[in-house]
Symmetry: none
Subunit: 203 residues, 4 copies
Amino acid sequence: MGITQRKEREKEEMRQRILDAALHLFREKGYEGVSIRNIAEAIEYSPGTIYLYYKDKSEIFYALQYEAAALKRDHLLSAALLENPWERLQAIGRQYIDFGLKHPDLYDLLFIIRSPMESIENQDCWILGQATHAFFVETVQACIDHRYFKSTDADTIAFTLWCHAHGLVSMFVRERIRMYPEERREQLARDSFEMIIKMAATL
Amino acid sequence: MGITQRKEREKEEMRQRILDAALHLFREKGYEGVSIRNIAEAIEYSPGTIYLYYKDKSEIFYALQYEAAALKRDHLLSAALLENPWERLQAIGRQYIDFGLKHPDLYDLLFIIRSPMESIENQDCWILGQATHAFFVETVQACIDHRYFKSTDADTIAFTLWCHAHGLVSMFVRERIRMYPEERREQLARDSFEMIIKMAATL
Amino acid sequence: MGITQRKEREKEEMRQRILDAALHLFREKGYEGVSIRNIAEAIEYSPGTIYLYYKDKSEIFYALQYEAAALKRDHLLSAALLENPWERLQAIGRQYIDFGLKHPDLYDLLFIIRSPMESIENQDCWILGQATHAFFVETVQACIDHRYFKSTDADTIAFTLWCHAHGLVSMFVRERIRMYPEERREQLARDSFEMIIKMAATL
Amino acid sequence: MGITQRKEREKEEMRQRILDAALHLFREKGYEGVSIRNIAEAIEYSPGTIYLYYKDKSEIFYALQYEAAALKRDHLLSAALLENPWERLQAIGRQYIDFGLKHPDLYDLLFIIRSPMESIENQDCWILGQATHAFFVETVQACIDHRYFKSTDADTIAFTLWCHAHGLVSMFVRERIRMYPEERREQLARDSFEMIIKMAATL
DNA sequence: CATGAATGAGAGTTCATTCAT
DNA sequence: GATGAATGAACTCTCATTCAT
């Protein structure tokens, strides 16, 4: 019994090691830089070994996405603690953007990359994402309930705010922010966030 | 005399056929799916033939991007005709989003795809993009001048609106809109656009 | 008749232009740099046109070799004028080496490059080469006749001297002279030539 | 235990097989005729397999060169044993030429072929070559020290002798010896060697 | 459990050559 | 006489994946 457990644990550790290496490569060299061979090299195992822990490359990819989703959830945790829904909403937005700018690769993985999204294999990640999203919508609803907004369409409000945040981060992640001079970018992001908050307050 | 013209036309047609094939592949299988060999196969020519029309792969890519940029500009032309700046601004936004939803592949090419952006070879496309963007910012400024906004920070207003529109379209293009049931998506997009317009009116 | 002649002349001019371009490319980028396309580009004609003047690539190659052989012969002409056989022999050697060091690419073409030597197409070049060589052997023989050498084996003497000169030049042309520091190379070549002359005088 | 050894041996055998095939192709079709695909075909493996044993094409080339250098050194070993410097020098020359005539392809590889000579990757071969050359020069020096030569310029003497030997072998390797009828070639080589030795004795 | 050897497919490119026009 | 379009084969190299050991 203990043996089985240990084996199980060791297996999990190996999977994690593979994931860590993959994530590392992903951050360093982008999507193209992640190849089975590269991962194998990084963890100092043979390419074949990878297949003992993951069926194929896409499985690693999904696991990576899940990992990113979990990290993102953790990043929003501090915001979740705020009781006041309006403050909480602002904090969520701030942290969401912060996450995206701090971990562009992970954000990319979650919200931009083209991947076989439809595949059911990615369920875990999907569920996690939906939970986070639900929590966001609920916070908007709470704001409505507490009369922070006159509008009562929680979904549209949430979607609109998300559009802004996603658009903002995406421009950084995929470098369309180059439209603006480097020294103004950060300030612009901050100002735009303030502006959307102020705008939202009028809803 | 006519011969030269015909030849010229045929050459142009061939270039277009290559571009069309490339775009098609791009839509179907994403950037990775576009290979010289693939294109060649699609148009039923040998791989070498492609090189008679485009120097290398990236040139095809740039041509594609330029084409997309031109189409997008054309798509926004009708909006440009409106005299009233506030109405013009709304029209620009509407058309921008409309373009993105109607031509997700082109939008992707322009605003999402990872590509050798820094390369100067893509100058034409870049210039075109900047012109369009400048026109957008000028319209915002015109709105300010005509007292449609109290805020006078044209750049931030423009950026914020762009963030929203880009975020919205991006979710469709890269299928993160799957978070929402299919039958609600379009309505949500419309509602969100209305909402951002209403919000903007309070600036 | 005049027309035929003009045509003939024009054809010859074109062949020469092709050859010049080929030679130019050969000098600039080495053997690999000479491709039908490259030549065509250089003379601003289409690749197909080349085939109207030369059957295939190897024919150009042979013509090039002949050209090189003629240039080399011309280079040795001044030596041929000397009456005294011993002085003439020295001059031939000096000029031979001089030619090789000044035109390493041509020397390569003539004496080093692997080519379908056996092919009869190269006859012209071959004949020219033999003539030059015969003249060299005759000069050795003349030295013998005038008692500059005690040995009477003209062939072996000629061959030995040629070995030295060819070895010397070859080391430069194919860069095995790198064995020696750059600043000493030229001096070494000169000294060695003096040495072989002095040695020869003892024969 | 034995397994590791066997694997190691098998790997080495495979590397050797690749090298042999490469050398074979090299002999048959010259440098241009050696391609990864060709080698793969020759050993009846897939092209990719080659890359499991050699990083890239140039590595194979370097390995080949090194092998040739080692064989050549071995070929000269017997000469090295002779105590008398003058006899040793003659033996070195004889063996050098003998090596070149017996293994024209290897000689070509070492002393004629155009290759990325400057590359440091070829260090091993380079070092080996320099050692051999140093030994040769030292022998000349020893001859000087023992008054076999009056001249004291070891470098020039060595270089001159090398020029002769290299030129002689080169003519055979690159077939310029065709200038002479086949039945005389060998004799000519022998005679010329005798002649250069006799000449050297007068230095 | 892990390996290492191997594969087949595919990438972007270049080339000599042909041929209808 | 000249062109330009096209081909097919070749090039080096990388990759995900499989499988006997």
